[in-house]
């Protein structure tokens, strides 16, 4: 009796104070004072600890943005480095609130395992790394070539399907160990090396010795949309994560950056910018957030474009072009519904 009274009282209080109920995961995060974020054990550009032990990367910045939105402090994150075998169990068991760890969005994972994808932060695809001296411009010209593969779950299957679809033939060399396959490729044992394009970019930059002697071909032979995953059954938290990504995209579209966000908040006349930065309406309210959540996120990590540039963009270690991950106006597919 007492408990239900308290519950009703809390609800009434919440309604009066104007904050919508934020969902049980959000409540748990606020109570804990920390966001539990599942990341990789070390993938350069996405989630990796730097020499000072600080986590950096595209997936890491999403968790910082979430912490800035929910806890008003981007540093209040507890990082859980997870292997690919551990990642889903950790989320299912409630050990982490969100899995932000270059994980491909597929039907089976989205529907069959008690999990749901909140969107995508980066669209990857299997590509080919070749020596520049071969002077080829497309993977379709690799007919008859020896291709090195690290045996994984789908890499060699995608390669075989690509060859079949294009009526070409490869001589496949399968290696279990990454070091061995890199040794073979860089010694010239095979003429191409296939893996996810973001991994190839990092290998070209860090392991080749001479990056200019190698190039990643433009072909993408598989679809690998990588995005954050949450548990099923908490739509409020799901919506919060999903709209966090959209807000980061919207900020880029409106030209709001980490550097000019303070300035714009004071001076802008653009109603869309005013709305986003909480000057006029409160777009965060239905998510259970206050009106400055986007402002705090942008102060902490910048907009999506800045996150991309800093971690994986042309001037980063990975040197990836924006490509399909650009906004629609630049030919990409990173689209956000209206934030209003």
């Amino acid at each position: 009796m007492n408990k239900s009274l308290i519950a009703i009282a809390t609800m009434v209080a919440a309604m009066l104070s104007g904050t919508a109920h934020a969902g049980k995961t959000t409540d748990a995060i606020r109570e804990r004072g920390q966001l539990a974020c599942g990341v990789s054990t070390g993938v350069a550009g996405f989630s990796a600890a730097d020499s000072k032990g600080e986590w950096r990367g595209l997936d890491v910045d999403l968790c910082r943005a979430l912490a800035a939105a929910v806890l008003k402090d981007p540093t209040k994150v507890r990082w859980s480095p997870l292997t690919s075998q551990q990642r889903f169990t950790a989320l299912q068991s409630g050990e982490i609130d969100v899995l932000s760890r270059n994980t491909t969005w597929t039907l089976g994972r989205d529907a069959g395992q008690g999990l749901v994808y909140a969107g995508y932060m980066f669209i990857d695809g299997q590509g080919f790394l070749v020596p520049s001296r071969l002077r080829i411009t497309s993977a379709k010209q690799l007919n008859g070539a020896e291709v090195c593969v690290q045996t994984g779950t789908t890499t060699e299957k995608n390669l075989a399907e690509f060859a079949r679809a294009n009526k070409i033939q490869f001589k496949t060399l399968m290696f279990e160990n990454l070091r061995a396959v890199l040794k073979a490729f860089f010694s010239g044992r095979c003429q191409a090396f296939t893996a996810d394009a973001s991994a190839l970019a990092s290998i070209r930059a860090n392991d080749s010795g001479k990056p200019e002697d190698y190039m990643v071909l433009p072909d993408r032979i598989s679809k690998e949309p990588l995005g954050p995953v949450v548990r099923r059954g908490d739509e409020d938290w799901f919506a919060l994560v999903r709209w966090t990504i959209f807000a980061l995209l919207e900020a880029e579209e409106r030209g709001i950056t980490q550097a000019n966000v303070d300035e714009l908040r004071k001076t802008t006349d653009d109603p869309a910018v005013q709305r986003l930065l909480g000057v006029s309406e409160e777009v965060g309210k239905p998510l259970g957030l206050d009106k400055e959540w986007v402002y705090r996120m942008l102060k902490a990590v910048g907009n999506y474009g800045e996150i991309f540039e800093r971690n994986v963009g042309p001037n980063s270690l990975l040197q990836l072009p924006r490509g399909i991950n650009a906004l629609p106006r630049d030919g990409g597919v990173m689209y956000s519904p209206p934030l209003r």
């Binding site: 020896e146 994984g152 779950t153 299957k157 075989a160 079949r164 496949t172 279990e176 061995a180 044992r189």
Partner: protein, 323 residues
């Protein structure tokens, strides 16, 4: 009474072991069903979906997992047979070399044995492989080792007879845009595994040979010399036939080790049985079945080898009238 008790006790033990195995199997099966994988060997008839670069029989992605296993098995058998023959020859020579009267030769053979049996085999496989792919030229600058025989990073390409409409034709390797096609190719992976297995096992075989020869009484060779036989004749007609009797059982051990050691091929990407099984269990989720197949195949190969060696030993003992 005593006998009856022994029997019943043994039946009880065997029954208990079988029951435990059955229990284990049903737990595994239930766990696999829970993960959405139907236990059993039915997956062997499913489409594999991956290519194998080095196959002795035709194989592509539309073939079954079962055929992929067959490709892996043939690769294991071929690399092991080549290494068995080569290591017996090399090991035999090194073993006799250690006993040579020429001090330099004997010390060199001893040095070889100490070096190669004390460096881990995995390391030897990797060193040989890295040397091969590092030192050999690119396919376009391949070394010519005779008419239509080319050695490069892509391996040793040589002419090979193939059946066509016009009958048996010698197909020659042709350099394409990237590498050689046609004819037969010994890949650097195959060469590295075969060479490392040979070098490693030969060191052990050399010791077996040396020990067995030294075990033959010194008076035997003195008697042979007294009869006017020269060194080579003494060795061939007197020493080796007697040494063989004690040599074969430890030799069989070395050959069994060699067959099992061939699974290190996976380190350099040679598609042997273990490599194919690894890829298959990764893709199909049938880990338990794949491991069971690996175990069964190595057990079978080892038993066959042991049976051959035992029958040779038995025949030798009968011929020589036993000990």
């Amino acid at each position: 009474m005593m006998r009856w008790r022994n029997w019943s006790l043994q039946c009880l033990v065997v029954g208990g072991v079988l029951l435990a195995l059955y229990g284990l199997a049903s737990i595994v099966a239930a766990k696999m069903r829970g993960l959405g994988v139907e236990p059993g060997f039915g997956f062997l008839w499913q489409r594999a979906g991956f290519d194998i670069g080095d196959a002795l029989i035709a194989f592509d992605a539309s073939d079954t997992y079962g055929r992929a296993f067959l490709v892996g098995l043939l690769n294991t058998v071929s690399v092991a047979s080549v290494a068995i023959v080569a290591s017996l020859l090399l090991g035999g020579a090194l073993g006799l070399g250690q006993l040579a009267r020429n001090r330099l030769l004997a010390r060199l053979c001893e040095a070889y044995v100490e070096l190669f049996r004390n460096v881990p085999l995995l390391l030897q496989v990797l060193i040989v492989y890295v040397l091969l792919i590092g030192r050999l030229p690119l396919p376009h600058e391949a070394w010519s080792l005779g008419p239509d025989v080319w050695l490069s990073k892509s391996g040793l390409a040589l002419p090979w007879p193939v059946f066509t409409d016009a009958g048996l034709v010698l197909e020659r390797p042709v350099l394409g845009r990237f590498t050689f096609s046609g004819g037969a190719v010994l890949t650097p992976e195959f060469m590295a595994v075969a060479a490392a297995l040979t070098l490693f096992t030969a060191a052990y075989i050399a010791e077996v040979v040396r020990g067995s020869v030294q075990a033959v009484s010194k008076r035997q060779s003195e008697a042979a010399l007294a009869l006017g036989l020269n060194d080579a004749q003494t060795l061939r007609f007197v020493i080796v036939p007697q040494a063989l009797r004690s040599m074969i059982p430890p030799l069989a051990n070395q050959l069994l080790n060699l067959i099992k050691n061939s699974s290190l091929a996976v380190a350099v990407g040679y598609p042997d049985l273990v490599a194919v099984a690894d890829t298959t269990l990764n893709q199909s989720g049938h880990a338990v079945e794949c491991i069971a197949i690996i175990m069964a195949v190595y057990l079978f190969l080892s038993l066959v080898t042991a049976a051959i060696m035992n029958s040779w030993h038995g025949r030798l003992l009968r011929q020589q009238g036993g000990y």
